[in-house]
Symmetry: none
Subunit: 225 residues, 4 copies
DNA sequence: AATGAATGAGCATTCATTCAT
DNA sequence: CATGAATGAATGCTCATTCAT
């Protein structure tokens, strides 16, 4: 697979083949993601992204119809990855006993390395989706939907007590809890100092603590029913 | 004293007394909230708000230091109201049996009329807090923190099984689930049509269904422990 | 003269007599001047001035038709004072020998305590006059003109060599040199650090040195002719 | 190569080469300068400048980081030009006899066509410098400083009596006198009518008369020492 | 006379997107 | 394919001034 090997090197001056184009598209996404993360979850400008990717602003628009699509694609990729990871966890017998705690713990641990996904989720569900053309949301929705369906089925199979057809709902609950807690747990820079004051300590939830508790409750609720 | 009686009507041309000023401030908030809601959760411009309130742009800045403060104040009020409502539910014996369902149902029903609060929550936690001066977040945080503390105590008292000190955490889980699910359940205009397609049906969660399930799980988890 | 004695105390709640009004007007001017100086030569807002004077914004407009008038009046007063001081110098025989240096030195020393006047002069001649109603400039021009005429006559009498009728011209030259040099010598905050670099040393003139030299030249020129 | 020949005409729709870009930058400066002059020394809005140059507002910001930079660049150019002209005068033997009058006359005549420079100088030294980022002042300061150094040396060489090292000081005196007198001589529109009244005749100095006298004095002072 | 609430004109700046080259 | 110059919509905020009280 020479293509794969080359894909990771610098993209060529002109991306002609499909592989080249995919590589360039990927390079843009990487640049966008890095900048997004470095900015603490703030969307970088298209120009910044292009420069970071070593390209011109206009080039970005050859690969993405709009700025928001870029980040939607980014979240799509992050979600896909998370889905896989989650899938693996569900397939691990150690996580699917009658005790929800192992799975919850595994999930929380796994999310520890997914700050970018969490930040993107906050942006996308809160703001981004509003500003994108209908078609642009399509890819995102497709991946999400199919992932949800697949994972939902897995959930129904592996977690006893989950009623047939309720798998996706349970996943949505889980995802909502994760993203919702993350929003509360990662306040903006300006609020950072404030919530560190003792009188506001209960406003800055310990993300992991609260999340673990919530996940256990939701998962255990399914197991018990 | 007809004046006192009509205090809730339109404030006088010039708000001199504290009551008049409060009324005017309130009128601005109402205008802002209505426009926000009408725009489907998009922040209106200050000028729009002023015009809707029958005032000039500059006048708004006599009552709010910045645009974002306005909406933070709005959410503060909405939250305060919700806290009260929630408090009443918790104090209702019918909601604090060993079955979490009555409380969950009550909460979901109550939230049905709080679309504005939910939309504001999405905006504030996702975007607004990032853009406001530290002092401006203070009032918001104070109300939230004290409400959380108070409600948290109530939760610990009224819901058996909630460990002392874990009340606020449970509330955060609940709040996160609510806001998180709302984000997923209220796609932007552009995505509205899309998720109505059958193949995406599982992406447009039935907010009430998923929320009820999640709340029951979290609350029941506490009751059972 | 009880009035004079009272005039310097806090102005009464309501200024009724002419003396009271003058005192209040004076208080406003003092507040304006102090704030102007504290701000490094930046015009304070009317609100700031009013508050500093312990008055409401609107009250300022009972005494001055426009913000700029205030500062024009301020400069008028400063100039009047300087004129007097200058007059005294001219009347001092020690300053009116055939050597211009004593007078130049005296002037420079005197200007050392007139930073406010210099800053005002820069503002007024450069910007303020443009923005004031015609009538408002009247008082300023009157004082300036009469002072110039009077001082000009004195100059013609006391400085040998000054042709009859050229006294005011000489004064204008002197005044222009002073204000012009001051502008160059007091760069804005942002440029302060820069001109302190060695490579720009010649851009930050030693105000006193350059001014003394210039004054001596102009005055001596008259003496010699 | 017709293109090269018409380089000074309107730049192409899109300025790609460095020359085109310089031409466009120049076109913006010309537009800004003309508007500034037409407005009697008032800064036009960026939008006005852009429209006059046949461009969109945003385009201006491709060539200047901020509005003030534009006018600083304008003064820089004007000063550079004046420096050259001044330099030529100094190199002219007819201007460097023991009589300062020829040089003074030449300078005054030369300044007659530099109204734009004088108005800009008033704005820049009085207001503009205060509002610009430090880096933006750099270019201006550099040109000024180097011009001052160069001209200062020339002055020392060509005007007998100027002590080594005092050339720049003398130039500053000259520049200050010029700008200072201009400020006094060009009252704002509103004051124009007023100073034409006979009683204020001495306030509206004959710029050329007073300037000539002052320059002669300063220059002669050097020659005589 | 004094107040201070209300007004609203005025403007620089950013940045996603387009399209000529 | 790539570029990057050009576009221009969009808007929060200040503050001098007015005038109802």
């Amino acid at each position: 697979m020479p293509d794969t090997a080359v894909a990771s090197s610098a993209p060529p001056r002109r991306a002609r083949g499909a592989a080249d184009k995919a590589a360039r598209r990927q390079a843009i996404l990487v640049a966008a993601g890095d900048l997004f993360d470095e900015a603490g979850g703030e969307l970088p400008s298209v120009d910044q992204v292009a420069r970071r990717a070593g390209l011109a602003k206009g080039t970005v628009y050859l690969y993405f119809g709009a700025k928001e699509e870029m980040f939607l694609a980014l979240l799509t990729a992050e979600l896909r990855d998370w889905f896989e990871s989650f899938s693996a966890m569900l397939n691990d017998d150690a996580n699917t006993t009658n005790d929800a705690r192992p799975l919850a713990n595994a999930m929380v641990a796994d999310l520890g390395g997914r700050r970018k996904m969490l930040r993107l989720a906050v942006q996308c569900h809160g703001t981004l989706e509003r500003q994108v053309a209908e078609e642009a949301v399509l890819g995102f929705k497709q991946v999400t939907a199919s992932g949800l369906a697949e994972l939902g089925g897995l959930v129904e199979n592996r977690i006893s007590g989950v009623v047939r057809g309720e798998g996706p709902t349970l996943l949505l609950q889980v995802y909502a809890l994760i993203v919702g807690l993350w929003q509360l747990a990662e306040p903006a820079r300006s609020a950072r100092a404030m919530v560190d004051r003792p009188e506001f300590s209960n406003l800055r939830p310990d993300f992991e603590h609260a999340l673990t508790g919530g996940l256990v409750a939701i998962l255990q609720g399914a197991l018990d029913s």
